[in-house]
Subunit: 359 residues, 2 copies
């Protein structure tokens, strides 16, 4: 059964190969060790060669306090980033809307023209300078972006050379309307982004979402299908949605997609019009919470080891090995398209051989 | 913006309309009440008319002990079903493999020819008789099924007239292989099913999965896109995967798809070769655990109210109202197909207007 299994033909469109980030602190485990433990086949041999690569790096989640003073917010974020870099962080994740209060009144006032750069965008200029000077990768939370006559909620990613690698505009705007209780409609001022953002960095392939984007499993599935190692969601869930779903959604995305998920919230300010839940978190590819916090200002440091993703793929071979699962996130659409044409009874599934390895 | 939003064109293939199950204990809330609370638009008016329908019924999850005595297992299940019906249950969910020990040695011995019926399948004959005599719907957990020279892990659904409404064959077989520790490969004896199973019953539209099927979010997404109210997963997670993922997966499926999820495990038998986790559970459309248990034999009773799904759709209008979300589970495939052809930068998202209503 295994011999007839051709993973390269099982996923349409073909998945991008996993990038091989530069190894900063690598250890090599002899393949023989794994051969001893697991029942390998030629697919694994071909995939991993004779070594399992361990790639470690430190991530910092900067759960920043945010004030009405933009210059203070920028200087404050810069200090937090530098402190984290001093402690060895190679990847920094900032909160959603960290340079401005989270309000429709503030967005137009605090918005910056990111594409113009320079004085038109002091927030991203700072991020660029710090990433270059410290040789770190920064997922710059989000800030209000002005582009022509539109405003976006945008996350900028800077590489170790200070260059802007990617810009994600929040796709799914967050509107809440409880008459007499709470009303917040991002769509009053903001325009929604139009595409997913996946970016190759020196610390792996990263998919970006902002806050409410995390509710859409299909976005995470797209990133997984494209070989992401890590999903980063700057996000300010509130005091209702936070306790209900913040951790659940992170763990679900991580476990379903078998990759790391990092989130970063602003610290809670009980006096602001929109009160953030906090609880920035790093979740591993088994849905395990590696590090989390309450709502106060803090910087969380944690180590990420992408070899865990590969190990977990051995142990719980859901995505990488099964023909059905290999179709993975593409399966839904393929099935529904087929189903739509041919009716539910004609739906073809293929299943060859499932292997679940566990500790 | 709202005026240009045509939900009927936003999902391809078109979603099936929600079925309207017979109302056994219905209350009607004046639309005006909801109008008072929420900011309705013509879409909601068209969808719900002037009434919000409350549809309540009781579900029973029979976490049965299973022995090597098949006749005892059948009589035991029958008694549990009758007891639950006596207490008002209109829908009964049984565990995965409830008439046989969970082992490859047992599957061929205990397997029944469901299609032949009668003496060839005493387990399903009992289910049919009880469902008819008590006028209840039964999601019959699963039993080993013999069909020609193949064996399947199959779940039979019986309507209130005793007729077999659907039969789901487990799609994703569960194989575990830890040399020297634990080995179990369903695929040694079983053949995988080839299609999803969604069934209209007198207690709503129900999507069926068996155990490992729950790991595949795309299967749940298919059911959600087809208008399911409830997903039922008979399942015997084990002592490793149970504490890791059993609850997480149920809550994730429910919250992501905004529907009810019910699971039913066999009771734990520490002396068996495969030790089940137990913890049968009912989860609501917000990912909230309504009722759960430990590992002992028990029957859980809970009330399901499908109007909660609609209410939650008002409060967290993720699936029903957003153009992006309306494409819903079909989005992944559509996007990936498009992305595959045109590259990641050409991916078209549409976003009109998001509205989140919360309590």
């Amino acid at each position: 059964m295994e011999a007839s299994f051709k993973p390269e033909e099982a996923r349409v469109p073909a998945a991008l190969p996993l990038p091989t980030p530069p190894v900063t602190k690598a250890t090599f485990s002899l393949f023989l060790l794994h051969f001893y433990i697991f029942d390998y086949n030629s697919y694994q041999v071909a995939k991993f060669g004779h070594f399992l690569l361990h790639f470690y790096f430190k991530i910092a989640l900067c759960q920043l306090s945010v004030t009405t003073d933009k210059e203070r917010n920028i200087a404050h974020a810069q200090q937090a980033i530098q402190d984290a870099a001093d402690k060895g962080a190679q990847l920094i994740l900032l909160p959603e809307i960290w340079n401005s209060p989270y309000s429709n009144d503030s967005f137009p006032v605090y918005a910056e023209d990111i594409d113009a750069g320079g004085d038109a965008s002091p927030s991203t200029r700072m991020l660029s300078e710090v990433s270059r000077s410290r040789k770190i990768t920064i997922i710059g939370g989000s800030i209000p972006e002005r582009s022509g006559d539109k405003l976006y909620n945008s996350c900028c990613v800077f590489g170790t050379d200070g260059k802007l690698l990617a810009k994600h505009r929040k796709i799914h705007l967050f509107d809440i309307d409880i008459p007499g209780k709470m009303t917040f409609k991002e769509s009053r001022t903001l325009t929604a982004g139009e595409r997913p953002t996946i970016v190759d960095t020196e610390v792996g392939r990263i998919g970006i979402g902002i806050c409410y984007d995390i509710r859409f499993q299909e976005l995470a599935a797209i990133y997984a299908a494209r070989g992401a190692h890590l999903l980063c969601y700057p996000g300010a869930f509130n005091m209702t949605t936070g306790p209900l779903h913040w951790e659940l959604l992170q763990r679900a995305r991580a476990a379903d997609c078998q990759l790391y998920v990092a989130t970063c919230s602003p610290a809670r300010d009980g006096g602001s019009s929109y009160v953030a839940w906090g609880h920035s978190t790093l979740v591993g590819p088994f849905g395990e919470v590696f590090v989390t916090t309450e709502h106060e200002e803090t910087t969380l440091m944690a180590e990420i080891d992408y070899s865990v993703i590969e190990q977990r793929s051995f142990f719980l071979l859901k995505i990488e090995k099964f023909p059905v699962a290999l179709a993975g996130p593409t399966l839904v659409g393929a099935l529904l398209c087929y189903w739509g044409e041919h009716g539910p009874t004609s739906l073809p599934f293929s299943h060859e051989h499932t292997m679940l390895y566990l500790f």
